[in-house]
Amino acid sequence: MMSVKNWPLWEIFVRSKNGLEHRHCGSLHAADADMALENARDVYTRRNEGVSIWVVESKHITASNPENNGELFEPAQDKVYRHPTFYDLPDEVKHM
């Protein structure tokens, strides 16, 4: 039997300890945000993997399309001058 209305999908982000960022660890289904938090606690932090959880309904995430990776990311590829190694300095210069 299928329910009239299925529980929506939520993306789960967990901060493993203070000082670190939240990281995406998977998704789950829940009726609302509170339930998503509780389910995330049981599914993704059974062994102290987290001190903080974010849940976001999957439909609210906008993702870039890999087909556009050229336009999006290639412009950064030829900008070597954004890296410290681009600059020629004499070996005698210290702490730079």
């Binding site: 039997m1 329910s3 660890c25 998977g26 009726a31 339930m35 059974r46």
Partner: protein
């Protein structure tokens, strides 16, 4: 897209995998890759879910609180494994409802090992030791598989599996060192679970249809026969250590191969169970479908409550 375009995309796709690059959900992929992954990953998820049933059967009858909390945690982990894997499968565009539906209507398969009954407490030991042991051998290579979400789920699963196997072996160890009856119980469980565990690693290489393609996509890194040999070679010394006898008179160390030779596997039995004629196939499906149906009103009520709360919030905002 023209056929030539697809051909060249496919070539580039295979090259990426050969270079050990990962494929992520929104990347272009051949339809066959998507289908094969949905099938394998969802079967894997179903196995974790149905796999809870034979052990769940013993939670209330665990012989001590220590054993009970361990078994409960183990079974809960298997639920978690099922959920990681369903969630990874959904990234390929299959919905959870459709996956459940395939399981509940018998369209999708799950590991046939779970169609055997758990008759005594020693079966909890044998399952953790042998069934989770064989599962680990199957799963470790998948931590490196080409599909990113699957590989990540498997890393999580593998981290959790080793406790499963150790708790099972500890049960066997305790029984094997116990009274005469306890030792017999352990031996009986080993006798019943040994051969199905060997079958769990899949048909022999000459009968296995998917191997070549699966190797290319890193859904498989070793053949079924190689995995089976690895399982036997690592398990026999463990049985020796606790004084139990592997129920195979043909089992013998082969000095030349540096491996154990072993007896004929009853593949007729395997195919009978796969086709639905195992001792517990009907029972497992009945339990699973029953749980799903009895939970329907709860799912509906949770949804109705969520909608009501949402409406209330919106009204207040006006």
């Amino acid at each position: 897209m023209s056929e030539d375009q697809i051909k060249s995309l496919e070539k580039e796709f295979e090259a990426r995998i050969a270079r050990d690059e990962k494929i992520e959900p929104k990347d272009w992929m051949p339809e066959k890759y998507r289908e094969t992954h949905i099938r394998q990953m969802s079967q894997h998820a179903h196995s974790e879910i149905v796999g809870m049933l034979p052990e769940g059967n013993w939670i209330t009858r665990a012989p001590s609180l220590r054993r009970k909390v361990a078994l409960l945690a183990k079974v809960q982990d298997e639920a978690g494994h099922g959920l990681y894997l369903y969630s990874a499968t959904e990234t390929l565009g299959a919905s959870r409802e459709e996956l459940y539906d395939q399981l509940h209507t018998g369209k999708a398969k799950y590991s046939s090992i779970f169609n055997y009954p758990t008759l005594t407490w020693a079966d909890m030991g044998a399952i953790g030791w042998l069934v989770d042991g064989a599962a680990i051998i199957n799963q470790v290579p998948l931590c490196n598989t080409s599909y990113g979400p699957y590989a990540r789920a498997m890393i999580r699963v593998c981290k959790e599996e080793s406790f499963h196997q150790r708790q099972g072996f500890e049960i066997m160890l305790k029984l094997a060192n116990g009274t005469e009856e306890q030792k017999e119980m352990a031996q009986d469980a080993l006798n019943r679970w040994w051969w199905p565990s060997l079958m769990m690693l899949g048909p022999t290489d000459d009968k296995s249809v998917h191997t070549a393609q699966s190797m290319k996509w890193k859904l498989k890194r070793k053949t079924n026969d190689e995995l089976r040999q690895q399982f036997i070679d690592q398990t026999v010394p463990q049985a020796d250590l606790i004084g139990l006898t592997i129920p195979d008179p043909a089992l013998k160390w082969n000095e030349e191969r540096g491996s154990y030779d072993f007896g004929e596997i009853d593949w007729d039995e395997f195919w009978q169970v796969v086709k639905g004629h195992g001792p517990m196939n009907k029972e497992r499906m009945k339990a699973r479908v029953g749980a799903w149906e009895r939970g329907e009103w709860v799912r509906d009520a949770a949804m109705a409550y969520a909608e009501k709360a949402q409406n209330r919030k919106e009204k207040q905002a006006v």
